[in-house]
């Protein structure tokens, strides 16, 4: 029960930070709080948000997945090739997700069964699959994708962009799984104390592996949206995306040690990063300073997390 209250308090901290940021930005520029700008921000964070939701599962188990950027790239490339060769949008969505699931399974297997540290294992997978992407694409972006496919990343349903709707659906599913299902409870148990979890009969290897599978699938969905938004699958896509995803998870209140955190927190973290990115552009902060500000915010979030765990 105590954990629940602490969790809610921290959730409130991130929400508070987000609200403060938004208020200050809307004071500094009238262009921030417009429907068009807010819609843009939501659209811009959707890829990172989806990846970060997948990353939340992994970090909750006390692990980490550095390979999400490479998974995004290879799945984006597979999606592009599929739509160009078959013209079938469903295949262009299902097949890359299967690829993401498989890579996630490889991650989970190496980490759970192989007992290799998550950092090292996913670092290796990240490198390998970046190379695989280069080979698969022969180093060239795959472009001239059909408009019907590109609409995934660009279509508006009323005033809401389709990627935002996809993100919301992903968040709802993740929230339900983590808070209302037995699997969700097992994830938290595993992250809280792996040995206790195992001793109490939870198949920790299976749970861990599924967490990485979820992360891989999320990165694949991110890859499909990113590719359709740009209209091209680039072999250099997704480089560095793991950092923004991890930052979103951490700022949102999930502990890197595992066992504590929520998907909603992650989304707020992703929004803070998105609002920062957009806001700093709107008030014309020099691009050099933008990096400093972003880093400072992440540091603040981690410091606050540290204080809480004491």
């Amino acid at each position: 029960m105590n954990v629940n209250i602490k969790e809610k308090l921290f959730k409130n901290k991130s929400i508070l930070a987000l609200v403060v940021l938004c208020v200050l930005l809307s004071i500094m520029t009238p262009r921030f709080l417009t429907l068009a700008n807010i819609t843009n921000i939501l659209n811009q964070v959707s890829v990172n948000a989806i990846i970060a939701v997948g990353m939340t599962f992994v970090i909750l188990t006390g692990g980490i997945d550095l390979s999400v950027g490479s998974i995004l790239a290879i799945c984006g490339a597979v999606s592009a090739v599929t739509i160009k060769s078959t013209g079938n949008i469903f295949l262009a969505i299902i097949i890359p997700i299967i690829v993401g699931v498989l890579i996630g399974f490889i991650n989970g297997f190496i980490i759970a069964k192989g007992r290799i540290q998550a950092f090292v294992a996913t670092l290796a997978i990240m490198t390998i699959f970046r190379g695989v992407t280069y080979v698969y694409t022969s180093g060239n972006p795959i472009s001239s994708l059909p408009d019907s496919y590109n609409s995934i990343g660009n279509k508006m349903i009323g005033v809401i962009p389709l990627p935002v709707i996809i993100t919301i659906i992903v968040v709802i599913i993740a929230y339900y799984v983590l808070s209302k299902t037995r699997f969700g409870r097992y994830i938290y148990a595993l992250g809280g104390n792996e040995d206790s979890a195992r001793l109490s009969g939870i198949n920790t290897n299976k749970i861990k592996t599924i967490a990485y599978v979820v992360c891989g699938a999320a990165a694949a969905v991110g890859g499909i949206i990113a590719t359709s938004r740009i209209g091209s699958a680039s072999p250099t896509a997704g480089i560095g995306f793991e950092l923004d995803a991890i930052a979103s998870v951490v700022i949102g209140g999930t502990s890197l040690l595992g066992g504590e955190g929520t998907v909603i927190g992650t989304i707020i973290g992703a929004l803070i990063i998105g609002v920062l990115n957009n806001g700093l552009n709107l008030i014309d902060v020099s691009p050099f300073y933008q990096q400093i500000v972003k880093g400072a915010v992440i540091l603040l979030a981690v410091l606050a997390d540290r204080k809480r765990s004491k």
């Binding site: 508070l16 930070a17 009238p30 262009r31 060239n140 660009n154 740009i230 680039s234 250099t236 014309d284």
Partner: protein, 299 residues
């Protein structure tokens, strides 16, 4: 603890406000510029050239960094549209990936100019660049000319980031100029990601594995400078030609460390971009393609 965090955040955001300078909210016409990356001195020079021109002409210039990510590039362009800029200059991260972004920006009817790299789609008012393919060709011809007395010419090529349009174009020009030349052999062609450190490591490896070569073509000055360091350590004296004409690159040519570089004049590119954007903003017409001369910078 809650209050402490809140006050830190408030202070931080206030600091941001200060950093952004006392920008009055007047609707002074703004020009937006989206640069592919500021990790490379070439693009920093381009930004400097642009900012200097904006200052001289009294334009309000907003510069955003896409960090080599087409997704961020699109976000930057969307934000500029929100800002209500009167013209957008884009230095594309990739010629293919930027097309969609330009099409989206076209919807807002803001005139768009691309600089340094092509865009393969979308409506542009103007396109300012030096010809990268031609530059690659000139690099090849420089090597052939410099070593024309040799019976066989062995060349090492350091490529840029695989998949980038700059790398594709420079490599294309280079290889096309050498195609069919029977006395020319490319003994190694490896990517070093346009990075000086990587240029150093890759060159060191090639010196170990294929020590017999006469010339090195690096697809940018940063890699060339890394290669120069490796060659100095190994005491190898070969023809080294870079690309870009950055400050460090030209210094190296003057000192003799590098033989030549295909100088692109990034400052002129930035200056021309802002000058053209300003003209468009004021209703003047400009040329559809403004080529910037490449100069072979040698001692």
């Amino acid at each position: 603890m809650n209050k402490k965090l809140l006050s830190i955040i408030v202070m931080l955001v206030m600091a941001i406000g200060l950093l952004s300078g006392c920008r009055s909210n007047n609707d002074n016409k703004k020009i937006g510029m989206v640069i592919s990356t500021l990790d490379n001195p070439f693009f920093v020079s381009m930004k400097d050239g642009a900012e200097k021109e904006a200052k001289e002409k009294g334009y309000d210039l907003v510069v955003l960094n896409s960090q080599n990510d087409p997704g961020k590039e699109r976000s930057n362009v969307e934000d500029l549209v929100q800002l209500g800029v009167s013209a957008i200059i884009i230095n594309p991260t990739d010629s293919e990936a930027v097309s969609n972004t330009i099409k989206v920006a076209n919807k807002s009817n803001i005139p768009i100019i691309t600089v340094d790299r092509q865009a393969n789609g979308g409506k542009l008012v103007s396109f300012i660049a030096s010809d990268n393919i031609k530059g690659g060709k000139e690099a090849a011809e420089f090597i052939l000319n410099k070593l024309k007395n040799k019976s066989t010419i062995k060349i090492v090529e350091l490529q840029g980031t695989p998949g980038s349009s700059a790398s594709r174009d420079r490599g294309k020009g280079f290889h096309e100029a050498l195609a069919g030349k029977k006395n020319v052999e490319i003994v190694a062609s490896q990517p070093a990601d346009f990075d000086r450190q990587k240029g150093l490591s890759v060159m060191e490896n090639i010196i170990q594995s294929k020590p017999d070569f006469d010339a090195v073509f690096a697809q940018n000055d940063e890699m060339a400078l890394g290669a120069v360091k490796a060659l100095k350590t190994a005491n190898k004296h070969v023809v080294v030609i870079g690309f870009d004409g950055t400050l460090d690159g030209e210094t190296a040519v003057k000192s003799g460390d590098m033989t030549a570089t295909i100088a692109q004049q990034p400052i002129v590119e930035g200056k021309t971009a802002v000058d053209s954007a300003g003209k468009v903003m004021n209703g003047q017409s400009i040329k559809k393609y403004i080529p910037i001369d490449i100069v072979i910078f040698k001692k």
